[in-house]
Structure formats: structure tokens, C-alpha cells
């Protein structure tokens, strides 16, 4: 039980909000808007899963928002230029993987601190995109939206993809050697090396994977509307990192569960519509969001304090 205290704490806060909504604003639980809400958050979940692996491996990537924008705009332009949607989606994944590989190479290859490397790539990508697009929307051909399916089918497909990514990665983390290597490297890279692992390879791999997942997420977002705004994805990095850490992944690496990340993301995602449903005015939103993040981490800090020396 105690090992999962943070995950359980976050889930409890989430359930409390959901229960409040059920009592006070049952209108929140209508199928179509709820499916819409979840489909709109699904890309963020995919990025958050990738980010969780990176953070479990004791690194961080703050360039995902910029990567997301670049992948979205590039895939959008390709689709607008007449590429089949499937190829545009593949291109988004490939471009994301490329940026992930660049981050990974700089961090793993040169041994540079990931927060600074990705700070630099974040600024570079965002400014490059500003320079290239000047904020202009990309209009997509009609068949891109929902991949030509019905809206309900499209949204369901997006949810299934996100679910598959979540379940697949959670399983891999727990059951595959590669997954356990990420924990090992995140807990103690030197020990992992002495045990015969290759920490640099693991680090490179998690960045590559995060990049590819960011590209996939961009595609999952792209097919939900007929236009791409280049600003899309700005601020995504903070939301994703917040979801991961309040979901119980230790920022110091080596610990965390993807179901906690799911709970963390749902918690963050539900705040804004919950305030709308509870008729709370918008200018409290950021303060409440900050307070909930702090609440989630403070409870754990207090628990650790009460329990004496914890795992740290």
C-alpha cells in the first residue's frame, strides 16, 4: 500500500472531484461531451506516457510542446499538399522521432544535462516555427478529419490508441527487461552500468520513444479538427510534466507507475471543465491548479515525514 501512496493520493483527489461533480453537476456525465473531453486529452496522455519513461530514467524533456507544434504543422502541410493521411501521420511520428533522437544524442552521447539541452531545443524549435509560419493556420483537406470515419468512430479510435499506448507501455515497464532497465538506470546509472546495462543506450531510447510518441500525439490531435494553429502545443510541456509528477513519478528517477500518470493527467484535465460545471469563475483556475499540484506533493512529504526515513 505505502509504496503507492502518491498514486493513491492523486486518485483519491480525482475521485473526490468526480464525486462532487456527480452530486452537484451531474450534467458533467453526458456521454458525448465526456467522450469529446477524453478524446481531446488523449494526445496529452500519449505524450505523458513517454515523458514518464524519460523521468523514470532520471531525465526530463521540456521541448515536447515545441516538438508537438512542429509535428502538427509539418503533418498538416503534407496533408494539405495532397499526401494521404496515413503518410502524413507516419511523417509526424518520424519527425517526432527525429527530434527525440537529437535530444537523446545530445543527452546520452555528450552527457549533457537534459533540462538544459531540451530548453535549448524548445526555444530553437518554437522560434524556427514562428519564423517559418508567422502564426498562419494550416487548412486541412476534408478527409483528414476523423480519418474519414464518423466522429464517434474517430474519437473511439483515438481513445483506443491512447489506451493501447498506456497499457502497452505499462506492461513493458513491468514485464520486459528493457522496462526494468529504465528503472535501474533512473535509480542509479553507475550501479546499472556495473551490472552490465548500458545506461546511455537506455537514455537515448527513452528520448527517441518520447519523440515518436509526441509525433503520434500530434497526429491524434490533428485529425480532430480541420485546421492547425502553429501555436498548438505551447505550454504542453508543463501540463505533461505536472501530470507525470503529481501522478507519483519521482523526479529524481527510478520510481513511478503509468496508472498514476493517468490519474495525474485526468486530475489536471478535469479541473477546467469542473470549474465550468461548478460555475466557479475562471480567474481562480490557475491558483486552484497550483494548489492541487502542491496538495498532491505535500501530502506525500508529510506522510514521509510522519513515517520517519522513507525511501527518499
Amino acid at each position: 500500500m505505502r509504496r503507492h501512496a502518491r498514486e493513491l493520493g492523486v486518485t483519491a483527489v480525482l475521485l473526490a472531484i468526480l464525486a462532487t461533480l456527480a452530486l452537484v453537476a451531474p450534467a458533467f456525465y453526458q456521454t458525448a461531451p465526456l467522450r469529446s473531453l477524453l478524446a481531446r486529452e488523449a494526445p496529452t496522455l500519449v505524450v505523458a506516457c513517454g515523458m514518464a519513461l524519460v523521468i523514470i530514467g532520471r531525465q526530463i524533456d521540456i521541448s515536447v510542446g515545441s516538438q508537438f507544434s512542429v509535428c502538427s504543422v509539418a503533418a498538416g502541410l503534407l496533408a494539405a499538399a495532397g499526401w494521404p493521411t496515413a503518410l502524413a501521420v507516419a511523417a509526424a511520428v518520424a519527425i517526432g522521432a527525429l527530434w527525440g533522437a537529437i535530444n537523446g544524442a545530445l543527452v546520452a552521447g555528450l552527457g549533457l544535462p537534459s533540462i538544459v539541452v531540451t530548453l535549448a531545443t524548445m526555444v530553437t524549435l518554437r522560434q524556427g516555427l514562428n519564423l517559418a509560419r508567422q502564426g498562419e493556420f494550416v487548412n486541412l483537406p476534408d478527409q483528414v478529419q476523423w480519418l474519414g470515419l464518423s466522429q464517434t468512430a474517430g474519437q473511439t479510435l483515438i481513445l483506443l490508441v491512447a489506451g493501447a499506448v498506456l497499457v502497452g507501455l505499462a506492461w513493458a515497464l513491468r514485464s520486459l527487461a528493457a522496462g526494468r532497465h529504465i528503472y535501474a538506470v533512473g535509480s542509479d546509472a553507475e550501479a546499472a552500468r556495473l551490472a552490465g546495462l548500458r545506461p546511455r543506450r537506455v537514455t537515448f531510447a527513452v528520448f527517441l520513444l518520447l519523440g515518436a510518441l509526441t509525433g503520434l500525439a500530434a497526429a491524434m490531435n490533428l485529425i480532430q479538427s480541420p485546421q492547425v494553429q502553429p501555436l498548438v502545443g505551447s505550454g504542453l510541456e508543463l501540463k505533461v510534466i505536472a501530470a507525470v509528477v503529481i501522478g507519483g513519478v519521482a523526479i529524481s528517477g527510478g520510481r513511478g507507475q503509468l496508472w498514476g500518470v493517468l490519474a495525474g493527467l485526468l486530475l489536471l484535465a478535469v479541473i477546467s471543465p469542473a470549474l465550468t460545471h461548478l460555475r466557479i469563475e475562471a480567474y481562480w483556475e490557475k491558483a486552484i491548479q497550483g494548489a492541487i499540484i502542491l496538495l498532491a506533493v505535500v501530502t506525500e512529504g508529510l506522510r514521509r515525514r510522519a513515517g520517519g526515513k522513507g525511501a527518499g
Binding site: 453537476a25 450534467a27 458533467f28 453526458q30 458525448a32 461531451p33 465526456l34 469529446s36 473531453l37 481531446r40 514562428n130 509560419r133 508567422q134 502564426g135 498562419e136 493556420f137 466522429q151 490531435n221 479538427s225 480541420p226 485546421q227 494553429q229 502553429p230 501555436l231 498548438v232 505551447s234 505550454g235 477546467s272 471543465p273 465550468t276 460545471h277 460555475r279 469563475e281 475562471a282 480567474y283 483556475e285
Partner: protein, 325 residues
Amino acid sequence: MPRRLLPVLSAFLGLALAASAADSRLVVALMPKAKGNAYFISVKAGAERAAKELGVDLLFDGPADTDAAKQNEIVENWITLGVDVIAVAAENKEGIATALRKAQRQGIKVLTYDADTLPDARSFFVNQATPAGIGNRLMDEGARLCAGQGEFAIITATLTAGNQREWMKYIQARLAEKYPGMKLVAVRPCDDLKDRAQSEATALMSAYPNLKLIMAICSPAVPGAAEAVKQAGKVGQVKVTGLGLPNENQRYVKEGVTGAVILWNTDHLGYLTAYAAVAVARDELKPGAKTFHAGALGDFQVVGDNILLGQPFVFTKENIDQFNF
């Protein structure tokens, strides 16, 4: 140290000076609130056309996102570049005035367009529509779409955005004065993100089942709200209106999701601003003028120190095809 180097430098540049005097063109510096915004890209297109016709150099620079401090920094840069005339769309009325007064003290002519500063910090304001005009028009158009009855919500840029706050004030005043049957139930920010506006609109529609209208008062929010209404299958039941660009909204207006989009002709705004700036710099436009002639667009009315572009325009299914900006 720089001071000591200056005479040397000036001597060095003596030749360049003679050369540059030959093709000395007037330099007009035009500042948007945010340069990546489609609205201001269209303003820029109009201004560039005017600059070409007038044979002047046009600088166009502004913050990437709306940022009052950054606007001051760019004006200060233009002062040291020694431009001839500056035209600014002020993000913050009082904030920018400091920098603009400094420019005036250095002999640079200053105008504002789109959003004004304090009157003493500029000579003319190219007024595309007063905040009152916009607020009233939005409220009137919204009320028309839902026959003056029902709940409505506003999606704004950020809670701190200057223009939007001003417009909301007039929307609420108009509401209180003329439309007792309507009720503003929520104001939500979208951070100028289309996708976030879509999510906000979705939540609004499920939280307020009687919602009749979404009024989006920043340009990315209009297509975002329209897409949400479309996806919720509430076309016709929930109307959308707002301030937006024809190109971004064309498909929704034609599909009947968005009832009407309101905007002045931003391309003309840029064109008129550039013409007015050059005229002020050449001392051709002086206080007291009653009309002003701007190239191909003809005569514009001048009231006090405001050059009026005319009424905001309502784009509907019938006319939206004729515009490309």
C-alpha cells in the same frame, strides 16, 4: 566608451552618409500587438502595399505573443534606429505611452492604430472602430442570432488581455441596456489557442444545457468554438459569433455553424495606417484636418485626432467568399 568612439565612427561613415542621402527614403515603423497573429499579418499586407505605392521603407516588428514590456523595448530600439514615424497598436494604453513620449521628444512622429495610447503620446489614432462600437456590434449581432433570448457565454484570449477586457465592458453595458432577455453565464479564457477554445466550448455546452450562443472575442477562439458546436451536433441550437478573420472561419460560416463573424477590413486598416503615418511624417496631415485621402481607398473622415476607418464589417454566408485575409 561608446561616446568616445562615436566621432571616429561618424567620420568612417562619412562616405556612407553621402551615398545613403541619395536614396534617403522615409522609414515607417509599424508595430502589431503580436506579430504571429493572422489579424496583424493582414494589417501588414495592407501596409506593405501602401509603402510600395508611397516609396517608403516599412519596418514591421512586434512581440511574438502580446507583451506590453516587449512593445516598449521595440519602440526604444526604433528610437535608436532613428526611424521617421512609428505607428503602434498598443497592448497597454498607459504602458506604451512612456516609450512613445520618448520617441516624440527625439523628433519622431507617432501614431497609433487598432488600440490607442494616451492622447498626448501620439498625434493621430487610426480608429478602426471604437471599443464601444465593437462591443455594441458583437452584442447586437449575438442578440440577433438568438432573437434576444437565452443564455450566452464568452470565450476570451486571456483574462488579462487589454482589448478583450475593454470590449467585454461594452458588451455587458449593451446587454444591461438593451437585452433583458439575455444572460451572460460564463467567461472562459483560451490562451489564444484554438484547440483550448474548442475544449472550453464543449464544456460550456454540457454545463449550460440552455446555452444559446457562444461569443468568441479573440480570433483563434471563433473557429475553435465553431468546431466544438459542430462536433456536439448542436448546429443551429447553439449559435457562434465573434471577432475573427474570414479565412479562418469561412468553412464554418458557409456550413451555417457560425452565424456571423465581425471584423473591420484589416487589410484596409494597414493601408490607411501606413498612408496616415507617411502624411504625418511629411507634415501633410495636421491637427484640424477634416478628411484624409489615402491612395486607392479614397477619403476618410477625421474627427478630432481620430482617423476613422468606418464601421466594423459583418461577414456572413453571403459575402465571406469575397474576402481573402
